[in-house]
Amino acid sequence: MCIRDRYQRRVHGDYLVEEREMGKEQIALKKLHQYLLVGRGKPTDKDPEPKVFRMRIFAPNTVIAKSRFWGFMRKQKKIKHSNGELIAIHEIINNPSRAVKVFGMVVRYQSRTGYHNMYKEYRDTTTCGAVSQMYMDMAGRHRAREETIHIVRTCMVPVSKIKRQEPKIFSSGRVKFPLLQKISRPPIKKYKAFARARRPTLFLQQMQTYQYLSLIHISEPTRRYAISYAVFCLKKKKKN
């Protein structure tokens, strides 16, 4: 459990993990790192030169990366941590924020009823950012927690080969949309008032949008069927 106290320290259990200055904000997505792990079974008399295996793991730190590595080794190669040795662990560092790319990933996850494979695509500046998005997405759409997800393969997808709608739309052509929601809040956590004299404003509209809305748009926003413009001419009965 991560508890954030007044002094912006993140305390994980009993251990002080990070101490941040007042006013510095956290990154919303989970910070993942990409590690390259190389390991093999311990050499025995029967097998003096065991085969070496290499794996890329996405994990928040090296401890979890190693743990996941041995988990996969155990399940796929029958080599346990006790009878194996980790030869090397390197972090694969990508330079962030230069350009936005699309990352495709094949994912195997366990649902409540079985295992499923998925191919997902995300737009991000780094592979780790895209993988973080994937975890959030899987949690939101399929209630799949991190433990049940295996990343089979990740790759960078060129624009012409993108399969999914949303990355395709945002990658090609001119993307242009208005910001409808105006969020009014203090710029840093430090300025957030504990007690306020006024009631809160629940939503703020960008004022400019009111100008060009016609009466039809304002008066019938929830109408399901197309608005009919038929005019009914009612003739008065002629009195004879």
Partner: protein, 155 residues
């Protein structure tokens, strides 16, 4: 006498025929990225400020609050890649919830590099133009006021 099984408003019993899985996915497409299908170019919907490559945005939350930057690229519905060379903003991914759009648009290609944006900003005269707007003035005054000491405030 015969008894009718279906009553007048018995919606749950009168099951519709299965429309197959394809129908569900057809609906998903239209709800996922609606912005892709709306054409804002004609100005019909009355919006004037857009999230687009080159748009100058004001950061109103986070470490860089109070600064303006240029949107280099749109990542998705929620995040953009911004850059503010000479404006004091490092090239970074920022959430759309943390920015407010200004009236200015600097002419840069989608995904422009820092150097390109820097040239475009200086050619456009963004810092000067921003300082001349009411909004820019307010931000500058507020920043100045917060740094005054007692004597300066008296003056």
């Amino acid at each position: 006498c015969c008894v009718f099984f279906f009553q007048a408003e018995d919606g749950i019993r009168d099951q519709p025929r299965s429309r197959g899985l394809g129908d569900v996915y057809k609906r998903q497409v239209s709800t996922q990225s609606t912005w892709g299908y709306i054409n804002f170019s004609k100005g019909q919907m009355g919006f004037k400020r857009f999230v687009e490559a080159g748009r100058v945005a004001y950061i109103n939350f986070g470490e860089d609050h109070g600064k303006i930057c240029v949107i280099a690229d749109v990542i998705n519905n929620n995040r953009v890649l911004v850059d503010g060379p000479t404006l004091g903003v490092a090239r970074q991914v920022i959430s759309l919830r943390r920015i407010a759009l200004t009236d200015f648009v600097v002419k840069v290609p989608k995904g422009a590099k820092t150097r390109t944006i820097q040239t475009a900003i200086s050619e456009f005269g963004l810092i000067k133009k921003w300082g001349e707007t009411k909004w820019g003035n307010k931000v500058a005054t507020h920043a100045k006021r917060s740094k005054l000491n007692d004597f300066e405030r008296f003056q």
